[in-house]
Amino acid sequence: MTVSFILNGEDVSANVRSVDRLSDILRDVFGLVGLRSDCRCGRCGRCFVFLDGRLVPSCIVPAFSARGREIITIEGFAQTEEYRDIAEGFKAAGVETCGFCEAPKILALADLLERSSRPSPREILAQISAVPCRCTDPDAIVRAAQAVIERRAKRIYRRAGQ
């Protein structure tokens, strides 16, 4: 079947089978390799995407269910100011990741900041735990999130003042 949806701001369509996972279609058909499909059961968080604004593990989303919906992957999110805030915050706090979990951690943090403008350290760590990885330094992640919150607030106030 042909499924049409909005992918990173563009109208796209793909031929999918009923057994296809959204993560596989995004990687194999659209070449979006910023997400990975490691566990294939929604546990590892490596395949996070925004589906109509909600953070979901795309490996447990049937590809056909994307019909008519909007998907943002890390490649699309990387074009936003929110992404730049988080990337800069990670850099400022000295967050060093293994490379495999960085994209989903960025998406997870963006999702949290969308829902809560000033999350507590516990909320930050609980959210990042959705991307379990042995490389995570909890202190650095909290520092990074706090740096992101500051940057974000400054940007929003600056824009409001213009």
Partner: protein, 676 residues
């Protein structure tokens, strides 16, 4: 690109009666042991592992055949429809008591006269400590890809040991090693889980690629990876300790059994490291140690954050705490009297030449954690408590251990590693080592060392990609070896360039090779040689409380103090240690699965998980600055060498019960404290 699915054994032990594939569509083909052009074996530290099981199987999930084809979804269906029928035999699953034909390796060492020391001891304490399997939970599942590249076969995989992959693939394909080019891909956090297993998958991919004439890729799912690849070996360490009249450790009798799973790759090395570390950080004049690596019909066991020392360090440290508490003494004081000092004789007969910074480390820890006051207070509460509702269920534990780095200890393992460096005409330095490809922090240490010696900017130093046809063999890149051994080789190569730099024209190239000063020798109940080139030391204090209703242990704080020699980047080192402490806490609290039935089941996979970050306590990391200029030392294994023993002691104090393995099931805590 073709994908490769693995057909696995359904039985833990037996002979293969039949293997029936479904009708394979055009473009798909099966691959059997007969399709392997070379030897159907990979060799790891003397042990041999079949690439595809032929006739007999030795664990559930052992690869018996492959199917290659273009569509991974269809391959999954074809693999599921393939029937492997085995004539099952009773599997060997018991390893704490075992038969002689299960012994993959044995190590015995006797020092002094332990029988005499036990006969005159003022007290003797005995306990058996066990360590369970732990999943590496590395950043990326295991996988490999292979393709022809003109006159070579190129192999891509995330590996800690590129030359092992190269030699294994060459052996499997029956070609020369130079005809295989291994191009390692990015290696995430591996905790030593990618030492030899990537070689097996590389062989699968290469054989499929040769058989089908197309590039081929094997990529395990997380579930396959969890259930069928090596996990931390399980161990049982029986420690019997004799104390003299002054409470000094006068003798030890240690028996170690390590379940190395099927085939026992790394068995010799893991056992050797465990045996040599069996006295922990303590001096003991009389010792008998007997260690066995035991084969069972479970997936092959492997290294985990080190190659085996953490098992005996945990046991000895937990036992030291028990000895002190039994004598009514603060463990910190007992350890101060018995800890190794400069001039102490090690198990191998070597004299310890460096100061052991026990006093400095304990002073830092006591100040940071208020250890001494808390220990005394919790002891008082423990002794006066009449039931679980009577006072807080709190405990605090202390552990002290070391991380040695240097040669392999199994005696027959190759210890020849080389690093090369080239200073170009434009004063750019390139470092060539097959150990590159791991954590960026380690490579920054190499770059920093090189830049300091040659007086060039950090930006002028680059590390060449660790492709086997470009870089020399630097051995397996384990956590500790990269920082200590490889860094030292980088320094030596740069020093050699620096000596010639103003006498010879650029470019200049120099090589440095690792030579073991005194190789370990195991002969007739004696072990000799140098067990490590450098040792980093650490102490950990852990405070916890038990939830009064659920009895769940809740860590309140962890403090780790490390003497890691010259610490190049303290913030990055602290971040790595904090992650290590988090992992060690996970192993103490909730990372558990029981492969004793023959392997991990699918339910184990779904139950297993890392400790959520928001459940972590504050983690304090401190470094003790050495007085004199010290070398860079490996410190990555120290959290696993110290935190579990501190946790066990704290838990034992909180519950007023003696435990000997982690995690402690809630039922045992209820047994100790009574139901709510």
């Amino acid at each position: 690109m073709l994908y490769v699915a693995t057909i696995r054994s359904p039985s833990a032990r037996g002979s293969i009666r039949s293997l029936r594939f479904p009708t394979l569509p055009a473009g798909y083909r099966s691959i059997l042991p007969a399709d392997i052009p070379g030897r159907n074996r990979i060799v790891s530290f003397g042990a041999e592992v079949p690439i595809l099981a032929q006739d007999r199987v030795s664990y559930v999930g052992e690869p018996v055949a492959l199917i290659a084809g273009p569509d991974p979804a269809l391959l999954e269906e074809l693999a599921a429809a393939t029937k492997v029928v085995c004539d099952e035999e009773e599997p060997y699953l018991n390893w704490e008591s075992f038969s002689s034909d299960q012994v993959a390796a044995k190590r015995v060492a006797v020092v002094g006269d332990p029988d005499l020391a036990f006969s005159i001891a003022s007290s003797v304490q005995e306990e058996v400590y066990t360590s369970g399997a732990i999943e590496h939970y590395y950043s990326e599942p295991q996988g490999a890809a292979a393709a022809y590249d003109y006159d070579k076969i190129a192999v891509w995989c995330a590996t800690q040991w590129p030359y092992h992959v190269r030699d294994s693939v060459a052996l499997a394909l029956g070609c020369r090693a130079e005809e295989v080019s291994v191009r390692p891909t990015r290696l995430g956090v591996h905790l030593d889980g990618k030492l030899w297993y990537p070689s097996l998958l590389a062989c699968h991919a290469s054989i499929a690629s040769i058989a089908c004439g197309r590039p081929a890729k094997v990529l395990l799912t997380r579930e396959e990876d969890f259930r069928f690849t090596p996990k931390r070996v399980r161990s049982s360490v029986s420690v019997r300790a004799a104390l003299g009249k002054g409470g000094e450790l006068s003798a030890l009798d240690v028996r170690i059994a390590i379940n190395v799973g099927a085939y026992g790759p790394l068995a010799e090395e893991i056992l050797s490291q465990a045996v040599i570390a069996c006295t922990g950080a303590y001096a003991c004049p009389n010792l008998r140690v007997e260690g066995y690596a035991v084969l069972t019909n479970t997936p092959p066991g492997g290294a985990f954050g080190g190659l085996g020392a953490s098992h005996t360090l945990f046991a000895m440290e937990a036992h030291a705490n028990r000895l002190a508490m039994a004598g009514g003494e603060d463990p910190a004081d007992w350890k101060a009297r018995n800890v190794l000092r400069k001039g102490s004789r090690l198990l191998t007969g070597e004299i310890l030449k460096e100061e052991v910074p026990y006093d400095a480390i304990i002073a830092h820890l006591a100040a940071a954690s208020d250890y001494r006051r808390k220990y005394a207070g919790y002891e008082l509460v423990r002794k006066r408590r009449s039931g679980r509702a009577d006072g807080p269920l709190r405990g605090i534990g202390l552990a002290f251990a070391y991380q040695g780095a240097g040669p392999f200890l199994s005696g027959d393992a190759s210890n020849s590693y080389t690093v090369e460096a080239t200073l170009d005409k434009d004063l750019r330095l390139r470092i060539f080592t097959s150990a590159a490809g791991g954590a960026g922090g380690v490579m920054d240490i190499w770059r920093g060392s090189a830049a300091a010696i040659l007086g060039v900017g950090l930006e002028s130093v680059s590390i060449a990609p660790p492709e086997t046809d470009q870089v020399p063999d630097s051995g397996p890149s384990t956590l500790s070896r990269n920082v200590s051994v490889v860094n030292r080789l980088v320094e030596r190569a740069c020093e050699a360039i620096q000596k010639r730099r103003f006498r010879e024209p650029l470019p200049l190239t120099a090589r440095a090779a690792y030579r073991v000063p005194k190789p370990i020798k195991w002969e007739g109940g004696q072990v000799s040689g140098s067990p490590f080139d450098t040792a980093a030391w650490a102490g950990a204090v852990l405070e916890l409380e038990l939830d009064p209703w659920t009895l769940e242990p809740r860590p309140l704080g962890v403090w780790l103090c490390v003497d890691g020699g010259h610490v190049v980047a303290p913030e990055r080192a602290a971040a790595a240690l904090r992650s290590g402490v988090a992992d060690a806490l996970g192993a103490c609290i909730n990372e558990r699965f029981d492969p004793s039935g023959g392997g991990a089941g699918i339910s184990d996979y779904f139950r297993y998980g890392l400790l959520p970050l928001h459940e972590l306590p504050p983690i304090g990391i401190e470094f003790v600055e050495p007085e004199r200029r010290a070398p860079v030392k490996g410190i990555g294994e120290l959290p696993f060498d110290t935190v579990p023993a501190a946790f066990l002691s704290a838990l034992s104090q909180a519950a007023d019960a003696a435990f000997s393995s982690l995690p402690v099931p809630t039922a045992r805590l209820i047994g100790a404290l009574g139901a709510p």
